[in-house]
Each structure stands twice: as C-alpha cells, then as structure tokens.
Subunit: 407 residues, 2 copies
C-alpha cells in the first residue's frame, strides 16, 4: 500500500522539534509581554480581496487560494501583518498606540528550499499609532531581545530608510515610473551581486549610466546620513543596542514598507538570509478602510532560527512504572497517578509486557528510571527504583521517589 507523506514543501514537527519550539515560543512570549504587547490569533484564511489589496491580483501566484462552498474566494494567510491591520481598521476606537504580537504559521506557494517552507512560522510584533522614531527604535529593541531570548548572540542589524533609497534613485536620474523596479532589483543585491542588479535594471529599461550611478550612490555606505535613520540609531544607542549598521541596499522585498526598514543577520548563517525583519508601514491600515494609522513592526522567521539552533532530544518522562506481573497493571496506573500528583512525569505500562520487555522499552526510549511494582512492594509501600544507566537500585517510598526525581 502506498504511504502518505506531508504535501510538498511542508513537514511534520515531531516531539524533539516541538519541545525546542515551545521553549523558544515561551521565551518570546516573555519578551513580548515585558513590552506590553498583547497576543492575537487570526483565522488561517481571509477574503482573497483583503490579501490581494496591497499587492494586486498577481499575488495569487504565490498564495494558496480557493473558493468555499458558498462561492467566497479565500486565501491562506501568507503574512501576519495584513490580518492585524484588518483588526485595527475595524476597531477605530482602541486607545493608541496599539501593541499586538503573534506567534503563528502561514503559507506561501513558493519553491521549497533551505529554511523556506510552504508552511512556515513567524513571531513578531506590530506597534500601531505612532509615526515617531521612538516606535521604530522600540520595535528593533524587541527584535534584539527576541534574538537574545533565542540564545543567539552574534548577530547584527542592517537598517535603512525606503525614502532615503528613493531619494538616491531620484538623484541618479531614475524616472519616477521606474522607481519600484529599481528598488525591487536592488533588493536582490546580496543574492545576485552588483552585476546582477545592473543587468536587471537595464532589462527594466533603465540606462546603464543611471543604473551605475544609482548603485554607486547606494554603495557609499555611511557616506550619507538619513536623518530618520540617524535618530533611530541614536535612540538605540541610548538603549545599549549598538550592533546596528546603516546599509542603503536594504529594501525588504515586501511592497508595503514606507520608511524605516531593517533586517537581522546571524554571523556564520548569512546564507539563511535575514532571521528577523521589519519596518514602518504607514499606509497599510488605510488600505483596509481604517483611516491613517502610522505603524511599524517586525517578524522573526522561526524556521530559520530553529535551523540555526537545532533541536535536542525529545523530552522523556522521569520514570516508567513497571508492574512485575500483568495482573498488577491497575496498581501501576494508580501509582503513576500518585507520582504525577507529586510532580513526577511518568509512563505506566499499558502493554501487558514482561519485566524484561519493559526494561528493553525504557532503554529504547531513554527513560532514565524504572519503578518496580509487585505485591510485596505494594504491601510494604516501598518500591524498587532502578537507575537505568548505572543499574543501581534503591528501596523507596513514593514520597522519597518523588523527592529524588524532582530534585
């Protein structure tokens, strides 16, 4: 019979991976809470019109789109920010600023490759209502705390301003109508190099001289100071965040950014691309009917972070509670319950196996201790606790077992 697999570009997350992810999520939730962000969850699918509004109908090529049985055209969420903007647009009376965070999966119909999945996860924040550099600085500070909470130490932020790049394009003589093409080409600089960008610029009808001038201006790193970026960098310095570099080539692909943008590179893992990215998107809420709400935010790519962190072993309980005879299975279940009530994670035997088979199983699962349950032990209220690694055995009351294993 054929075996089923997860659909192409997706995978199952098994206990070792999930335990590591849950530990990460719990630390990230702690960071978000410490800044006053409130978690939200939005449905997996949205009206396709909502999803397409910012990018145009071509986005359909990159999404999972379907029609429900009532004829509604829906699409799987591919971004956490759009649904949050929908919430804000329909709640005009919430006090500002609004601080929302999310830890969620989303879907994109993309060519699967390293660190890129068709079902992927992001965690991040959206700070809505403030047009000021303090808001951008806070968002980057949250990202910095998230990186540290993930255990990543050697990372750096690359910041830029979309308005500054647009000014450089103008200075290079790139016509207004080609500006979007120029930014989209520049976004690929890290991937395709200077020659690749120049080639794309020319393919888009931008004369070679202007393309060179544009790349020349962009290349003058630090040579120009964008006042917005300068103020954000200054605020970050006050907050003790100094691993921030102005990089005029950082544009971020997504087309809703309006000003400050940033990305986060981890030393030795540059091939994964940015693991935490974001910026300012002052026009997005307005697009969904919510008036003008300036906003800034970032998202961390959980799958990329997990790629760097790796996973340990799947967690196992402290103990297997092992009846010495099949008839004592009920006693084993009941003792296991008493141990759990005392804080000991344990499995009870439910297979009716011989003691030898139970020892083999505990070994294969890597369960570190075994507790024998026999008539004699039940009468005495003292059980044999076996250390599976050393083979050492002790006679202990349940209380003493709990004390030893919890400690």
């Amino acid at each position: 019979m054929e075996k089923f697999q997860p659909p192409r570009g997706t995978r199952d997350l098994l206990p070792a991976e999930m335990a590591a992810r849950e530990a990460l999520f719990s630390r990230l939730r702690g960071v978000f809470r410490s800044y006053g962000y409130g978690e939200v969850w939005t449905p997996a699918f949205e009206d396709f019109d909502l999803l397409a509004r910012k990018s145009g109908p071509d986005i359909e090529q990159e999404l999972y789109v379907f029609t429900d049985k009532a004829g509604r055209k829906l699409g799987l969420r591919f971004d956490p920010t759009v649904p949050i903007c929908r919430i804000v647009a329909s709640s005009p009376n919430l006090p500002k600023p609004m601080r929302f965070c999310y830890l969620t999966n989303m879907w994109r119909y993309d060519r699967p490759q390293k660190g890129r999945w068709r079902e992927f996860w992001q965690a991040g924040v959206e700070l809505l209502g403030s047009p000021r550099p303090e808001a951008d600085a806070e968002v980057l500070a949250v990202a910095a705390d998230c990186m540290r909470a993930a255990g990543l130490k050697r990372f750096a932020f690359r910041v830029n301003s979309r308005t500054a790049v647009e000014a450089l394009a103008k200075e290079a003589g790139i016509p207004e109508g080609k500006k979007a093409d120029a930014l989209r080409a520049l976004d690929k600089l890290a991937k395709v190099g200077k020659a690749g960008v120049e080639k794309e610029l020319q393919e888009k009808g931008i004369p070679r001289a202007k393309a060179e001038a544009f790349l020349g201006l962009v290349g003058q790193e630090g040579g120009r100071t964008d006042p917005g970026i300068a103020r954000i960098t200054e605020l970050l310095k006050e907050m003790g965040i100094t691993n921030v570099r102005h990089d005029p080539s950082v544009v971020r692909g997504i087309d809703y950014y309006t000003g400050f943008v940033f990305e986060t590179m981890v030393e030795g893992h540059e091939d994964l691309g940015s693991v935490a990215s974001g910026g300012r998107y002052d026009t997005l809420v307005g697009l969904y009917g919510g008036g003008e709400v300036p906003a800034t935010g970032f998202g961390m790519g959980i799958d990329r972070v997990m790629e760097i962190l790796g996973t340990g072993k799947a967690p196992v309980p402290h103990l297997l509670v092992a009846p010495v005879r099949e008839e004592l299975a009920g006693n084993a279940l009941s003792l296991a319950g008493e141990l759990r009530a005392r804080g000991v994670a344990c499995e009870a035997e439910v297979m009716g196996r011989s003691l030898r088979k139970q020892l083999e199983y505990a070994n294969s699962r890597g369960i570190p201790h075994l507790l024998f349950v026999g008539e004699k032990e039940l009468k005495a209220g003292a059980y044999t606790l076996r250390d599976m690694q050393t083979g050492k055995e002790q006679q202990l009351s349940l209380e003493a077992v709990a004390k030893q294993l919890r400690g």
Copy 2:
C-alpha cells in the same frame, strides 16, 4: 470604504482571549508531559486522498478542499488523529507504545452555531500500540486531568463500547447492512430524542418493531455489562476516577471508532455537547498503510471549554514609563529597558505626548502605575512612581521600583 471581516464562521482571538487560552494550553501541556506524551504539529493541509480514505469522498462536503498550482488536490485538516496516524504508518520502527499529543487548530465547513466554528481548536492525545484496557483507562485519566487543569470540576464521563452497541443492534434483528445507519441515527439521541431516532431508523428502512427493540435494549442502562467497559471502569476506579457512567447510547459520530468510546459533559453546560471525547480506533493506522496498530485517544474542544471558562481582561504591563518632556523620550526608552531587565513589564511612551495625555492613556489601558522621567529624576537616579488608582506617589530608585512592582 468597505470594512473587511474574518470569513464567515471564523473570528479573531484578541489579547484577553489569547491570554486565557495560552494559560490553558500551558496547563494542558503540563498534563500531557506528566504522562510522557510528546507534542507533534502536522501541516494545515493534507492530500485529499488521505483525508477522504476513512470516510469516503462524501466528506468533501464538510471540508475546505482546493487544488494547488501543481494540480494536487489538498484539504484543510479537519481532525488531529488522521495526520498522526499518517506519521505512525510511515514510522513502523518507533518503539511502542507511542504517545503523541497536540494542541492545534483545524477547519470544517459546517453551519456556524454556538461553540462551533469553521476554524476550531482541539488539544488531546493519541496512545498507539496497545490493544489493552489499560491504554483506554490512561487516555480517560489524561482527559480527567485536563478537565481539572482547565479548572472544571463538575463534569462526568459517559462511556460505551461500539462493539456492545453493535451486539445490541444484532440482538434487535437489525441487518448487518443497516448497522452503520443504526449507529449514526443513535448518535443523535441526545439531540433529537427517542422519537427522532426511531423516525430516522424507519427512514433508513429498518422496520418499526426492530427500531423499537434496538432503542429498548440501548435504554437498559447498566442492565448489561460489557466486559471491556467493565474492566476499564474498574481500572479507572483504582485510579480514583469515579465520575464514569456507562451509557449505551454514546456512539460518537466519527466513523473510525472500533471499541471503547467516551464523552465528557459539564454540569450546567450540557447544551454545548461533549467537551472532551475519544475512544479506540484499532483499524485507522492500517488504512494508511501502517499495518495493524491498535490505538486509543481523545481530544478536548478548546472553543467549548473557553465558552464555559470565559475570558478575563487583557493583560497589561505593570507600568508606563512617561517622559515629562518630549526630548526625554530616549531616556524613557532606556529606563524601560533597564526595568524589563529587572523583571518589570512596562510600556515606554512612543507618541511624544504631553504628560496629561500619557496619564489619560494609562487610565484608558488600565495600566496600574506610571513612572515620571524628568531631568531632575535622571540626575538624582530617583523617579516618581504614581499609583494610578490611589494617586499616591513615591520617590524611588529603579531597583526599588522593580522590587515593589514585581512583588
């Protein structure tokens, strides 16, 4: 401009609701871990063939089904058990028993009604590899611990055996070919009453006398003892779980159960139906090419449980760090960072507002304290902490602020 809403039958979960859910999830994870269950996550969508295999292609009416750009027919997950069986079927060498748990959303194209959403959540366990009553007893014990972990005290389990109901159907003279129809009709007993079930039985071509005989036998509660149920009930009693009643009318709608089934009713909330249900499904893994793997499990309906529990208020941070002049915004950001490092959750002002406006904001958000940041305070290293409720103010060092608010 039109406002967008979540698609029909779905909703956004906002911070108050999410905080309550996360607290519940964290307690449920604790229960699962204490029994040795390892968490898994499976993709939101699966091959439609996988989803349809157990129920036949008619299930398509109840699912979100779509075709991806490569022509694969996919469907959104509508059940947590099928994907876990897929994992088990493709991993024949894992040591047995296997204990998997999940906390996940899923989707069903259903008529929206109270406690029933098109995107809904379940948390539960699957215990695979054991055909024995100890396994069923363990699963119900996990459910009992989950109910208690959710803070629910007044609940009762209704248990039954599918094989026992089938025997009653046979005894009543219902032909083998009509057995599935009879069980499906019986499943609606709580909803449509005895007359409704009789009507459906007759519509399915079962003569009135046989229908009455069947319902008569089913109604003899406790009058017959199914040996499987009796043993499970005995094991549960040994574990201290006594709120278990044998109810021959419990069938559970889903057609994969093969033996023991149970549901959980909360006193005063019977209208929500069962909040935690499960049973034995010995043939499901085999359906996906995994050989014979006896299995049992249960799932808790998180949306129904939340309906009972209700949600509190959205969490707010301890404190707003409020610069007295706009120019001190950077100092406020930086002090907020120092307070967070000392365990204080706080917002910093990012709107450039006057102190009066900041006080108004703290009030509207329900933030209980405000810390004033002025030049004098910065020089002295002592800040004014205001209790927003009493209006009381104290001069304190950051350390003292942290000590007071954390405590």
